[in-house]
């Protein structure tokens, strides 16, 4: 095609002239229309004070009330002639920005992919390590996560930006303790207000310890990008469990040892007035310091393992309020019926009436002895392996025509179905958020442009992009 003709040469020359002119055009803007950004080498982020007209909806993030832009976002905005980045009180040129922003974390390919997609109009955000599964989104766990993140500080930001807000932590502690006191009021019906207050103080200290543990656990875990949502929930559940446990410990410790009671009682004078006021509302007692002698009062141990029935002896001193008279000497309370009682719905009762399971006594005994589901399953398994054996059904296995499933193999529905199956099915390994993270993580989450896009709740990305060379 190239024929070395003069006219071709002229056309090429004209093309180059125009190209040079277009490439040399400067990026000019009114000073007030530029967004002012500050680059810091330590954080490798550009901080802006006032957001621009349009880009803040899709780019940038907030940390501790300050607005930041990632370096690739800042570079893109500089090329768009929207942002002016200052460093050391001098404005940065685009070449300078390339020199400073590009580094081991931000390669040229990374920026080019980002800029290419942004120029096409997509909303491109750096991939965040945590992804809420569909179930987690259904139960609202991701919103809870976000709330916790905001309170504790995002673990993904650098240490320079995180600021532990002690006021918020204290509020958290108070929140947990309030729910603990509520539980306390439910349990203890025969309790003095001082006792409640004193126990609160001890619990408060223990709670504080457990919350501190939980916090430190979280920040430890938070260093890892792959923190699953279940981990956060677990750590919080642990803290609540810990506080509940120390509650039980306090109740058991009160009856035998007297000195302890006195010391805890003394502590109660110094407790937070908030707690004492709350417990006053709950139990209705007045704050009397010398009315009762705790050495003579025996409190029932609700937490002890004395079986289903809690026996309460009538005590010599009249602890019941007002004109209530105790008739019996010993009161029996069915633990299941009185503690953690759910409000029975009519339809539930009806349904329970209809579903009458067969009275298999041997199984019920294991049910009564086990404290939790895993123990019960173990009991069941033992019972089955003892009772469901082939030799117990000799009449079935005597002939040539035998059952497809042997009793020993009937461990679960799946096992039985497995025995009956002709075609083997393959099972996908269950999706476990605690499993090893995938070997290659995406770099960007890309969303199609839409007006309803919210940075705080972007939703599932339309595409995920990995930048490779």
């Amino acid at each position: 095609m190239p024929d070395g003709s003069w006219i071709q040469g002229k056309q090429i020359e004209k093309f180059h002239e125009e190209r040079e002119k277009v490439l040399a055009e400067p990026r000019v803007q009114k000073k007030c229309d530029y967004v002012h950004g500050l680059w810091t080498n330590e954080s490798r982020l550009v901080e802006i004070e006032h957001e621009g007209k349009s880009f803040w909806k899709n780019m940038g993030f907030t940390r501790n009330g300050r607005k930041f832009l990632h370096p690739e976002e800042a570079l893109f905005l500089m090329e768009m002639n929207v942002l002016q980045v200052w460093y050391n009180f001098l404005p940065m040129s685009i070449e300078g920005a390339y020199c400073r922003f590009l580094g081991p974390t931000l390669t040229l390919e990374f920026h080019q992919v980002y800029a290419h997609l942004r120029r096409m109009g997509y909303v491109v955000i750096r991939h965040r390590g945590k992804l809420a599964s569909r179930y987690e989104r259904e139960i609202g766990l991701d919103k809870y996560q976000k709330k916790k993140e905001r309170q504790l500080g995002d673990p993904m930001t650098s240490s320079l930006l995180t600021k532990k807000n002690s006021i918020e932590e204290l509020a958290q502690m108070e929140g947990l303790e309030n729910c603990v006191t509520d539980k306390m009021c439910e349990h203890e019906k025969v309790a003095g207000e001082e006792i409640v207050a004193s126990e609160n103080s001890q619990i408060k200290m223990d709670c504080a310890a457990s919350i501190e543990k939980a916090h430190s656990q979280e920040t430890e875990i938070g260093g890892n990008e792959e923190m699953g949502s279940s981990l956060i929930l677990q750590s919080h559940m642990n803290s609540i469990k810990d506080s509940a446990e120390c509650l039980n410990d306090n109740v058991t410790s009160l009856s035998p040892v007297d000195d302890n009671i006195l010391t805890t009682f003394k502590h109660s004078d110094a407790t937070n007035s908030a707690f004492s006021s709350e417990s006053r509302n709950a139990s209705g007692f007045q704050y009397k310091s010398s009315a009762w002698d705790f050495r003579k009062i025996a409190f029932p141990n609700f937490g002890a393992e004395c079986g289903d029935v809690i026996k309460i002896q009538r005590s010599e001193s009249n602890l019941t309020p007002g004109h209530v008279v105790c008739e019996l000497d010993c009161y029996d309370f069915n633990r299941m019926a009185h503690i953690n009682k759910k409000k029975d719905k009519k339809k539930d009762l009806e349904r329970d009436r209809k579903l009458k399971f067969s009275n298999n006594n041997s199984r019920f005994s294991s049910y009564q002895n086990s404290r939790n589901w895993s123990e019960y399953k173990v009991c069941l398994y033992n019972w089955r392996s003892n009772n469901w054996r082939q030799d117990q059904f000799p009449h079935l296995f005597a002939d040539g025509l035998q059952p497809l499933v042997r009793p020993e193999l009937a461990t679960s529905t799946e096992a039985i179905l497995q025995q009956l199956q002709v075609i083997k099915s393959s099972t996908k390994p269950p999706r476990n958020s605690k499993a090893d993270p995938p070997a290659v993580l995406p770099h960007f989450d890309v969303y199609s442009p839409n007006k309803k896009f919210k940075k705080t709740n972007p939703g599932t990305p339309d595409f995920r992009v990995i930048v490779m060379r």
Partner: protein, 298 residues
């Protein structure tokens, strides 16, 4: 068909082309130099920034121009360029003051230019302005006449004397001053430092550069081959005007090529109407090229 372009049109008064090494990649930040590279030296490169006049599109990109490492080595060998790295100078109070002064000067200059431009515009439009003022005055007089006042007709005909100075010009606020995001580094605050360029090192890179150099010497324009799955794309003339003819694939001379690979390459070349050129360096250190053309598919 191919001619070696001689360096006659543009002189070397601008000196060597400056290539900036940033994070392992080479860039050219000057449009004149970019044009020179392409027009005179047949070094094409790839533009990888956004264009100032049309930033939100991907078809036409702007500076900086990214160069392939082979291109850089060629330029260095020919002594036509130098590879530098920008080192930041320590920012002194002097520099900050200097910048502020520059800004102030620019502001003053802008105010000057702005007032001058407005004055010229007013001068041009002065008859229209006068006519407008006259019409307004006449309208007011008409209103008064309607209200019962007796106004002489000559009032309507009176001319308005106005000069350019009488028309007010608003002042240019400092906030509305125009500022620029410069493309290249400010030479007063950065010092370029020459960098040792160590490409090519491995056997693969050496082979690639040999092939590149040879084809360049033969007069082709060469660009990166990632668009068509090869090492280079060879154009007979400027890429803006001509389609490429060859997809250059560099292979070591002793390497075996499976049948599937041949089919892949043949298929690819045929579908895009280009010839695959298998290039290698043989035992006698000579470059040999094998062209693939698949006639099976029409």
């Amino acid at each position: 068909m191919f001619e070696c372009v001689t360096y006659n049109r543009m002189s070397f008064d601008r000196g060597k082309t400056t290539i900036t090494l940033i994070n392992g990649q080479c860039f050219v930040w000057n449009s004149k130099q970019a044009r020179f590279l392409r027009e005179e030296l047949r070094i094409v490169g790839t533009l990888c920034g956004s264009l100032p006049r049309a930033p939100m599109q991907n078809t036409h990109l702007g500076l900086p121009l990214q160069l392939m490492p082979e291109e850089v080595t060629l330029l260095l060998e020919k002594g036509l360029a130098e590879v530098v790295e920008n080192t930041e100078d320590v920012i002194t109070e002097e520099m900050k003051l200097e910048y502020k002064n520059k800004e102030k000067k620019s502001y003053k200059r802008q105010v000057e230019l702005y007032t001058r431009e407005r004055q010229e515009e007013i001068k041009r439009k002065l008859p229209q302005i006068i006519a407008g003022k006259k019409a307004k005055r006449n309208k007011v007089l008409d209103e008064r006449r309607k209200n019962g006042e007796i106004i002489d007709d000559s009032e309507f005909e009176k001319e308005i004397e106005m000069t350019v100075e009488d028309v007010g010009i608003p002042t240019l606020q400092e906030a509305s001053m125009l500022m620029e995001i410069p493309l290249a580094c400010d030479p007063s605050t950065t010092t370029p430092v020459l960098v040792k360029w160590t490409y090519p090192k491995s056997d693969k890179e050496v082979l690639r550069y040999r092939v590149f150099r040879d084809l360049w010497d033969k007069g082709h324009y060469l660009t990166s081959g990632s668009k068509f799955g090869g090492d280079f794309i060879a154009y007979p003339g400027d890429p803006s005007r001509f389609h490429s003819l060859f997809i250059v694939v560099c292979k070591p001379h002793s390497a075996s090529i499976s049948g599937i690979e041949l089919i892949t390459m043949g298929r690819l070349g045929t579908n895009v109407k280009k010839t695959i050129v298998l290039s290698s360096v043989d035992e006698n250190d000579k470059l040999c090229y094998t062209s693939l053309q698949w006639t099976g598919i029409s």
